[in-house]
Protein backbone atom coordinates (compact mmCIF):
# COMPACT_ATOMS: atom_id res chain seq x y z
CA UNK A 1 0.00 0.00 0.00
CA UNK A 2 2.82 2.37 0.83
CA UNK A 3 4.10 1.71 -2.70
CA UNK A 4 0.74 2.72 -4.20
CA UNK A 5 0.69 5.87 -2.08
CA UNK A 6 4.26 6.65 -3.10
CA UNK A 7 3.40 6.22 -6.79
CA UNK A 8 0.19 8.23 -6.58
CA UNK A 9 1.98 11.00 -4.67
CA UNK A 10 3.80 12.03 -7.79
CA UNK A 11 0.59 13.90 -8.59
CA UNK A 12 0.34 17.21 -6.72
CA UNK A 13 -3.36 16.84 -5.87
CA UNK A 14 -2.65 13.55 -4.10
CA UNK A 15 -0.13 15.30 -1.85
CA UNK A 16 -2.77 17.88 -0.95
CA UNK A 17 -5.30 15.10 -0.22
CA UNK A 18 -2.81 13.34 2.04
CA UNK A 19 -1.93 16.54 3.89
CA UNK A 20 -5.47 17.89 4.12
CA UNK A 21 -6.23 16.14 7.40
CA UNK A 22 -2.66 15.26 8.37
CA UNK A 23 -2.98 11.64 7.21
CA UNK A 24 0.66 11.32 6.16
CA UNK A 25 1.97 12.52 9.54
CA UNK A 26 -0.54 10.21 11.28
CA UNK A 27 0.74 7.22 9.31
CA UNK A 28 4.36 8.06 10.15
CA UNK A 29 3.52 8.43 13.85
CA UNK A 30 1.34 5.33 14.06
CA UNK A 31 2.89 2.87 11.64
CA UNK A 32 6.37 3.86 10.54
CA UNK A 33 8.51 2.28 13.25
CA UNK A 34 6.77 -1.10 12.96
CA UNK A 35 6.90 -1.14 9.14
CA UNK A 36 9.37 -3.11 7.03
CA UNK A 37 12.28 -1.15 5.46
CA UNK A 38 10.71 -1.23 1.99
CA UNK A 39 7.50 0.38 3.26
CA UNK A 40 9.59 2.88 5.24
CA UNK A 41 11.38 3.88 2.03
CA UNK A 42 8.05 4.44 0.27
CA UNK A 43 6.64 6.47 3.14
CA UNK A 44 9.72 8.68 3.42
CA UNK A 45 9.78 9.23 -0.34
CA UNK A 46 6.14 10.35 -0.08
CA UNK A 47 7.14 12.77 2.70
CA UNK A 48 9.90 13.99 0.43
CA UNK A 49 7.36 14.71 -2.35
CA UNK A 50 5.26 16.68 0.14
CA UNK A 51 8.34 18.66 1.21
CA UNK A 52 8.25 20.45 -2.13
CA UNK A 53 5.63 22.69 -0.54
CA UNK A 54 6.63 25.21 2.12
CA UNK A 55 3.42 24.88 4.16
CA UNK A 56 3.93 21.13 4.47
CA UNK A 57 7.62 21.53 5.36
CA UNK A 58 6.47 23.76 8.21
CA UNK A 59 3.84 21.21 9.29
CA UNK A 60 6.46 18.42 9.41
CA UNK A 61 9.10 20.53 11.16
CA UNK A 62 6.58 21.73 13.75
CA UNK A 63 5.64 18.19 14.77
CA UNK A 64 8.19 17.13 17.38
CA UNK A 65 7.06 13.48 17.40
CA UNK A 66 7.52 13.34 13.63
CA UNK A 67 11.00 14.90 13.84
CA UNK A 68 12.05 12.41 16.53
CA UNK A 69 11.02 9.49 14.33
CA UNK A 70 12.68 11.02 11.27
CA UNK A 71 16.00 11.66 13.01
CA UNK A 72 16.02 8.17 14.49
CA UNK A 73 16.33 6.79 10.97
CA UNK A 74 19.85 8.05 10.22
CA UNK A 75 21.25 4.60 11.00
CA UNK A 76 18.64 2.50 9.27
CA UNK A 77 19.22 -1.04 8.11
CA UNK A 78 18.13 0.27 4.70
CA UNK A 79 20.55 2.75 3.13
CA UNK A 80 17.64 4.19 1.14
CA UNK A 81 15.85 5.04 4.39
CA UNK A 82 19.00 6.81 5.60
CA UNK A 83 19.24 8.59 2.25
CA UNK A 84 15.63 9.82 2.37
CA UNK A 85 16.09 10.87 6.01
CA UNK A 86 18.99 13.13 5.00
CA UNK A 87 17.12 14.37 1.96
CA UNK A 88 14.08 15.34 4.04
CA UNK A 89 16.32 17.11 6.59
CA UNK A 90 17.84 19.08 3.73
CA UNK A 91 14.38 19.92 2.33
CA UNK A 92 13.05 21.01 5.73
CA UNK A 93 16.14 23.17 6.24
CA UNK A 94 15.27 25.30 3.23
CA UNK A 95 13.24 27.43 5.61
CA UNK A 96 15.29 29.00 8.40
CA UNK A 97 12.67 28.70 11.17
CA UNK A 98 12.58 24.94 10.53
CA UNK A 99 16.32 24.57 11.18
CA UNK A 100 15.86 25.69 14.79
CA UNK A 101 13.09 23.14 15.25
CA UNK A 102 15.24 20.38 13.78
CA UNK A 103 18.27 21.29 15.91
CA UNK A 104 16.31 21.39 19.16
CA UNK A 105 18.24 22.28 22.32
CA UNK A 106 21.33 20.17 21.85
CA UNK A 107 22.29 20.57 18.18
CA UNK A 108 20.69 17.21 17.53
CA UNK A 109 20.48 17.74 13.77
CA UNK A 110 24.24 18.30 13.55
CA UNK A 111 24.88 15.27 15.71
CA UNK A 112 22.53 13.08 13.68
CA UNK A 113 24.02 14.20 10.38
CA UNK A 114 27.53 13.35 11.60
CA UNK A 115 26.25 9.88 12.57
CA UNK A 116 24.52 9.52 9.18
CA UNK A 117 27.62 10.42 7.19
CA UNK A 118 29.73 7.98 9.20
CA UNK A 119 27.04 5.34 8.66
CA UNK A 120 27.18 5.85 4.91
CA UNK A 121 31.01 5.68 4.67
Amino acid sequence: MSKAIRNLSQAEEVIHTLQDKGDLIDIILEKFLAADPFSQENLLETVSFACKFEKYRLAFASNEAFIKILLSQVQSISLKVTYFTIKICRQLSKDKPNIEKLQGDNLRLTEKLIIAFKWLE
Binding site: M1, S2, K3, A4, I5, N7, L8, Q10, A11, E13, V14, T17, L18, D23, D26, I27, E30, K31, A34, A35, D36, S39
Partner: protein
Protein backbone atom coordinates in the same frame (compact mmCIF):
# COMPACT_ATOMS: atom_id res chain seq x y z
CA UNK B 1 -7.22 -17.62 -2.78
CA UNK B 2 -5.40 -19.35 0.07
CA UNK B 3 -2.95 -18.00 2.62
CA UNK B 4 -0.31 -20.27 1.13
CA UNK B 5 -0.55 -18.53 -2.26
CA UNK B 6 2.40 -16.30 -2.97
CA UNK B 7 2.64 -13.22 -5.14
CA UNK B 8 4.84 -15.10 -7.60
CA UNK B 9 1.81 -17.34 -8.27
CA UNK B 10 0.28 -14.43 -10.14
CA UNK B 11 2.70 -14.67 -13.02
CA UNK B 12 1.54 -16.43 -16.18
CA UNK B 13 4.13 -18.03 -18.36
CA UNK B 14 1.95 -18.25 -21.43
CA UNK B 15 -0.73 -16.10 -23.00
CA UNK B 16 -4.05 -16.39 -21.08
CA UNK B 17 -6.89 -18.40 -22.59
CA UNK B 18 -9.35 -15.56 -22.04
CA UNK B 19 -9.16 -12.51 -24.25
CA UNK B 20 -9.28 -9.18 -22.47
CA UNK B 21 -12.87 -8.57 -23.61
CA UNK B 22 -13.96 -12.00 -22.32
CA UNK B 23 -12.26 -11.34 -18.99
CA UNK B 24 -13.94 -7.95 -18.75
CA UNK B 25 -17.38 -9.49 -19.45
CA UNK B 26 -16.89 -12.23 -16.87
CA UNK B 27 -15.68 -9.82 -14.21
CA UNK B 28 -18.46 -7.33 -14.80
CA UNK B 29 -21.04 -10.10 -14.68
CA UNK B 30 -19.77 -11.26 -11.30
CA UNK B 31 -17.11 -9.01 -9.76
CA UNK B 32 -16.81 -11.17 -6.65
CA UNK B 33 -15.95 -14.41 -8.47
CA UNK B 34 -12.33 -13.29 -8.94
CA UNK B 35 -11.66 -13.70 -5.21
CA UNK B 36 -12.34 -17.44 -5.53
CA UNK B 37 -10.81 -17.98 -8.94
CA UNK B 38 -7.05 -17.53 -9.11
CA UNK B 39 -6.96 -18.10 -12.87
CA UNK B 40 -9.16 -15.05 -13.39
CA UNK B 41 -6.86 -13.02 -11.20
CA UNK B 42 -3.76 -14.21 -13.02
CA UNK B 43 -5.39 -13.22 -16.29
CA UNK B 44 -6.25 -9.77 -14.94
CA UNK B 45 -2.70 -9.35 -13.65
CA UNK B 46 -1.35 -10.41 -17.05
CA UNK B 47 -3.37 -7.68 -18.77
CA UNK B 48 -2.41 -5.13 -16.10
CA UNK B 49 1.15 -5.50 -17.35
CA UNK B 50 0.11 -4.35 -20.81
CA UNK B 51 0.04 -0.54 -20.73
CA UNK B 52 -2.12 -0.49 -23.88
CA UNK B 53 -4.91 -2.11 -21.83
CA UNK B 54 -4.59 0.27 -18.89
CA UNK B 55 -7.16 2.82 -20.07
CA UNK B 56 -9.85 0.12 -20.42
CA UNK B 57 -8.89 -1.62 -17.17
CA UNK B 58 -9.05 1.66 -15.26
CA UNK B 59 -12.32 2.70 -16.86
CA UNK B 60 -14.20 -0.58 -16.42
CA UNK B 61 -12.49 -2.65 -13.74
CA UNK B 62 -10.71 -0.28 -11.36
CA UNK B 63 -13.59 0.38 -8.94
CA UNK B 64 -15.78 -2.72 -9.34
CA UNK B 65 -12.92 -5.21 -9.22
CA UNK B 66 -9.46 -3.91 -8.27
CA UNK B 67 -10.49 -1.53 -5.49
CA UNK B 68 -12.99 -4.11 -4.21
CA UNK B 69 -10.12 -6.57 -3.83
CA UNK B 70 -7.93 -3.95 -2.14
CA UNK B 71 -10.70 -3.21 0.35
CA UNK B 72 -11.35 -6.86 1.24
CA UNK B 73 -11.35 -7.10 5.00
CA UNK B 74 -11.62 -10.87 5.42
CA UNK B 75 -8.54 -12.11 3.62
CA UNK B 76 -5.25 -10.20 3.57
CA UNK B 77 -4.10 -12.21 0.59
CA UNK B 78 -6.97 -10.97 -1.56
CA UNK B 79 -6.22 -7.42 -0.51
CA UNK B 80 -2.55 -7.95 -1.28
CA UNK B 81 -3.27 -9.39 -4.72
CA UNK B 82 -5.52 -6.39 -5.45
CA UNK B 83 -2.69 -4.07 -4.45
CA UNK B 84 -0.35 -5.86 -6.83
CA UNK B 85 -2.73 -5.15 -9.69
CA UNK B 86 -3.17 -1.55 -8.51
CA UNK B 87 0.58 -0.99 -8.36
CA UNK B 88 1.02 -2.60 -11.74
CA UNK B 89 -1.28 0.04 -13.22
CA UNK B 90 0.75 2.79 -11.58
CA UNK B 91 4.04 1.65 -13.09
CA UNK B 92 2.97 3.26 -16.36
CA UNK B 93 3.30 7.01 -15.98
CA UNK B 94 0.41 7.77 -18.31
CA UNK B 95 -2.03 5.80 -16.14
CA UNK B 96 -1.49 7.87 -12.99
CA UNK B 97 -3.85 10.70 -13.94
CA UNK B 98 -6.45 8.20 -15.16
CA UNK B 99 -6.42 6.36 -11.82
CA UNK B 100 -6.78 9.61 -9.91
CA UNK B 101 -9.49 10.89 -12.25
CA UNK B 102 -11.61 7.77 -12.67
CA UNK B 103 -13.48 8.12 -9.39
CA UNK B 104 -14.10 11.81 -9.60
CA UNK B 105 -17.70 12.84 -9.28
CA UNK B 106 -17.67 15.01 -12.38
CA UNK B 107 -16.56 12.02 -14.49
CA UNK B 108 -19.13 9.69 -13.00
CA UNK B 109 -21.89 12.05 -13.99
CA UNK B 110 -21.15 11.19 -17.59
CA UNK B 111 -22.00 7.56 -16.93
CA UNK B 112 -25.42 6.21 -17.80
CA UNK B 113 -26.20 4.81 -14.34
CA UNK B 114 -25.47 8.11 -12.72
CA UNK B 115 -27.66 9.92 -15.21
CA UNK B 116 -30.47 7.48 -14.43
CA UNK B 117 -30.15 8.16 -10.71
CA UNK B 118 -30.26 11.88 -11.27
CA UNK B 119 -33.28 11.55 -13.57
CA UNK B 120 -35.02 9.41 -10.98
CA UNK B 121 -34.50 12.07 -8.35
CA UNK B 122 -35.74 14.71 -10.74
CA UNK B 123 -39.12 13.12 -11.30
CA UNK B 124 -39.74 11.30 -8.07
CA UNK B 125 -39.06 13.98 -5.55
CA UNK B 126 -41.96 15.99 -4.25
CA UNK B 127 -42.15 19.08 -2.12
CA UNK B 128 -42.58 18.91 1.65
CA UNK B 129 -46.35 19.38 1.36
CA UNK B 130 -46.60 16.38 -0.98
CA UNK B 131 -47.39 18.33 -4.14
CA UNK B 132 -45.29 17.73 -7.29
CA UNK B 133 -42.63 20.32 -8.14
CA UNK B 134 -43.15 22.72 -11.05
CA UNK B 135 -40.57 22.95 -13.86
CA UNK B 136 -38.39 25.55 -12.14
CA UNK B 137 -38.47 23.62 -8.89
CA UNK B 138 -37.55 20.46 -10.79
CA UNK B 139 -34.46 22.21 -12.14
CA UNK B 140 -33.51 23.42 -8.67
CA UNK B 141 -34.01 19.93 -7.25
CA UNK B 142 -31.88 18.48 -10.01
CA UNK B 143 -29.02 20.88 -9.27
CA UNK B 144 -29.25 20.16 -5.56
CA UNK B 145 -29.26 16.40 -6.18
CA UNK B 146 -26.21 16.62 -8.42
CA UNK B 147 -24.39 18.63 -5.77
CA UNK B 148 -25.28 16.11 -3.06
CA UNK B 149 -24.25 13.17 -5.23
CA UNK B 150 -20.93 14.84 -6.04
CA UNK B 151 -20.24 15.44 -2.36
CA UNK B 152 -21.15 11.88 -1.47
CA UNK B 153 -18.96 10.38 -4.18
CA UNK B 154 -16.02 12.66 -3.46
CA UNK B 155 -16.18 11.65 0.20
CA UNK B 156 -16.53 7.91 -0.30
CA UNK B 157 -14.79 7.14 -3.56
CA UNK B 158 -11.23 8.35 -3.24
CA UNK B 159 -8.41 5.83 -3.65
CA UNK B 160 -6.12 7.89 -1.40
CA UNK B 161 -8.60 7.87 1.49
CA UNK B 162 -9.11 4.13 1.02
CA UNK B 163 -5.35 3.42 1.07
CA UNK B 164 -4.82 5.62 4.14
CA UNK B 165 -7.66 3.87 5.98
CA UNK B 166 -6.22 0.49 5.04
CA UNK B 167 -2.69 1.39 6.20
CA UNK B 168 -3.96 2.76 9.50
CA UNK B 169 -6.06 -0.34 10.08
CA UNK B 170 -3.57 -3.06 9.22
CA UNK B 171 -1.07 -4.94 11.33
CA UNK B 172 0.27 -6.87 8.36
CA UNK B 173 3.68 -5.74 7.16
CA UNK B 174 2.82 -7.25 3.76
CA UNK B 175 -0.12 -4.90 3.41
CA UNK B 176 2.00 -1.93 4.45
Amino acid sequence: MEDSDSLSDLEMETQPKLSFEDLKSQLLEGPTRIAKNKELFKTLFYYCKDSKKHARIIKFLFWPVIMSLVQDTKNNKISLFGLQAFNQLLTYEGSLDQVIGVGKASKLQEQTNMQRIIKYFKYEQVKEDGSPPNEQEKEELLEENIRMLNEFIAKRQNPIHILVKKIKGTNSFQIM
